[in-house]
């Protein structure tokens, strides 16, 4: 089976700044992959290129063997993208939003309606299905956006900071949902600043800094490579990225 995501020599420059620099990484099908990095490391830029929102200056992107750059429409059919700021319409209800998103992805209306009901019930939004999103809390908006990302049953789910601003209960619901999707065979790539989440949930972890992949593997592999068997992900992250040096000094 083809890898869920294969990046090869990916490069993106904004003006004089090289946001992504010859980045190559592989995410296997059916795993939850956490992409970590300090602010401005190039995580979001990388994921936006994978989702087809940004054109790279160079390199290759393949999603389940489909070339994102040559045939973006085919690749997009199996990808879902959920940024940190939910892409919602304030004056639509969750149900109307899901109908719209399903239409964009060409999901059969009957199937979409069934999935919408299932997702909204799962996420505890069924009672709010007739309310406009404008009055929703951050967590409710995030959950609605997540339902939208799942309505077409994507094989690859890309989430940028999915837990930002969520309370503990909603964050738990989202984490459970992601693990559930992985169990059913989907692949999840997420970025997060909450390293404990990556430590507990991710099958593999990639760390990027200044647009380059500086570490990649399971937590055990990362520890073994550094020769620090008891190190936490936070220790490894700070050491690898050099982020902790300023504080230590």
């Amino acid at each position: 089976m083809a890898d869920a995501l294969a990046l090869k020599g990916l490069t993106k420059t904004f003006g004089a700044k090289r946001a992504v620099d010859d980045l190559s990484l592989t995410v296997r099908a059916g795993e939850l992959y956490a992409l970590l990095g300090p602010n401005g490391a190039g995580k979001t830029t990388t994921l936006r290129m994978v989702a087809g929102l940004l054109k790279p200056d160079g390199g290759e992107i393949a999603v389940f063997g489909r070339d994102v750059l040559k045939d973006p429409a085919e690749a997009k059919k199996i990808i879902a993208w959920a940024p940190d700021e939910p892409m919602l319409y304030d004056r639509l209800t969750p149900l109307e939003y899901l109908e719209f998103v399903a239409g964009l992805w060409g999901v059969d209306p009957k199937t979409a309606q069934g999935r919408a009901e299932e997702l909204l019930k799962w996420l505890g939004l069924w009672e709010n299905r007739g309310e406009r999103c404008e009055g929703f809390s951050r967590g409710m908006k995030q959950k609605t956006a997540l339902a939208g990302a799942l309505i077409h049953d994507p094989q690859l789910l890309i989430l940028d900071e999915p837990l930002t601003g969520l309370d503990a209960a909603v964050a738990r619901q989202v984490k459970d949902l992601l693990q559930e999707r992985v169990k059913t065979g989907a692949t999840v790539i997420l970025t997060t600043h909450i390293l404990e989440v990556a430590e507990r949930m991710a099958d593999r972890i990639g760390i990027i800094a200044r647009g380059r992949l500086i570490a990649d593997g399971t937590l055990a592999e990362l520890r073994a490579r550094r020769g620090e068997e008891r190190a936490t992900l936070e220790d490894l992250f700070l050491e690898l990225t050099g982020e902790g040096e300023g504080q230590a000094a």
Partner: protein
Amino acid sequence: MTLKLGSTLWLMRHEFRLTWRGFTRARTGGGGRFRRLWLLLILPAILVVTAGLPMGYGLRHVQIPIVPVAVVVAAAVSAGLFTLMLSQTMAAAVAALYERADLDLLFSSPLNPRRVLTVRFLAVALNVYALFGVITTALILPSVLLGHPSWIALEAVLFALALGATGAGLLIAAGLFRAIGPRRTRTVGQLLAAITGAAFFLTAQAYNILGRSQSASLWGRVVRAAEDPRFHAPPGLDWPLRAALGQPLPLAAVLAAGAGLFLVANQVLGARFAADAAAAAGAGTQGRPARIGRLAPFRGGVFQAMLRKELRLLGRDPALISQVLLRVLYLLPLGFLLLRSAGRGQTLLLPGTVAALGLMAGQVTASLAWITISAEDAPDLLSAAPAPIGAVRQGKVVAAVLPVAVLLTPILPPLALMAPWVAFAGALGCAAQMAMGALINIWWQRPGKRADFRRRRQASWFVSLAEFLLGVLIALATAILAFGSFWALVPAAVALAAVLLMRRSDAQIAAALRAA
């Protein structure tokens, strides 16, 4: 000048800075500077030279008599201005309730909330006055300098009207809030503001709406009544005229009336308004009650999904509805004139009117197309979807065109029965104007937020100018065609060539959007 921190004047300066920046805000680099220059220097200078000076010179020895006709006219103009100002202040009062951006910050500070609100309300009054004051000052100043110093009192009358209109606007907004609740106040308040604003225009268009005989007889009755020696103006009707001419007592009375209404509204509603603003924010978080029994089955397809989504969003945007409604109200006199002219066989009037109708239809379409295309709330969602760009655009364009087509339905089909050729030319003109409005908005997208709807033209002077010039060309072609001359092909061909020159490929559109 250093002002005491937290003082009323300090707060007032803060309000003015925000208003001024909002007023002169432009997306393009030098747009803001030009707009400031235009408002402060160029426009007043043009008005002074073209109207103020000739008027001042012509009237330098004229004393305006306090006769019934002058009294009635002055009172009517004052009432009209008050209505216009009321529409502005009502919209501002509703906005103050809902778009409270910095009110939370100000209320959480140690400043007295009553003072914060008083300053904000006063700023509303001053802003409304400034809208009219720029023009009237330029018109009246030469007269003031050339022998009528007391006429400067007109400015004081205007300010009194602005104060009164602000008080009335606040009372209406608060009354609506009590009567129909926070959710509906927003929609009803904005619609009411639009209708109030249009009322002045519609009254001025009485001739077109009622027809020559009825409107002439209406105005004639008023004038005859005023000229009748037995006519006694109701007490106080002559105050606006006397006040504007600088008579101290009426001027003091008018100022006191305006300030009184403002102060009453401020005192009575001040504290309540703050509570209403908090309740308005709270109402948002509760959302709308679920309509569980009304779940329609999903419908598929990119075009359908896009069309339904856009129509839902257009229909649920009270600010947008009030703007479109305003344009529809402006269309009414045109429609009446068109149908009445056709009914009476007044063939000379028809071509111009049908061309103007097309121009208006094109403008509304362009506005709606800007909303559906450039003011997309979730552009990344559309970019991330595997949906064909053509289907996405078709849905958006049809959503922009449909409401305009519905608005034209009561006008064009009846016209076709009365004047088929003119109706044909009109339909062709409307279709061309609507297509032009939609195409330019696709090719020259100007990303913005729905809330910036009224400022959308500032995003690109080139597109705004192109829309206007092409609209005029197509209107010219429509009028000539309605006359039955095929010379219409000349402006039509020029317009078509210009539209084709403005065409951009998908790659060019994408590149422009990336650069924006």
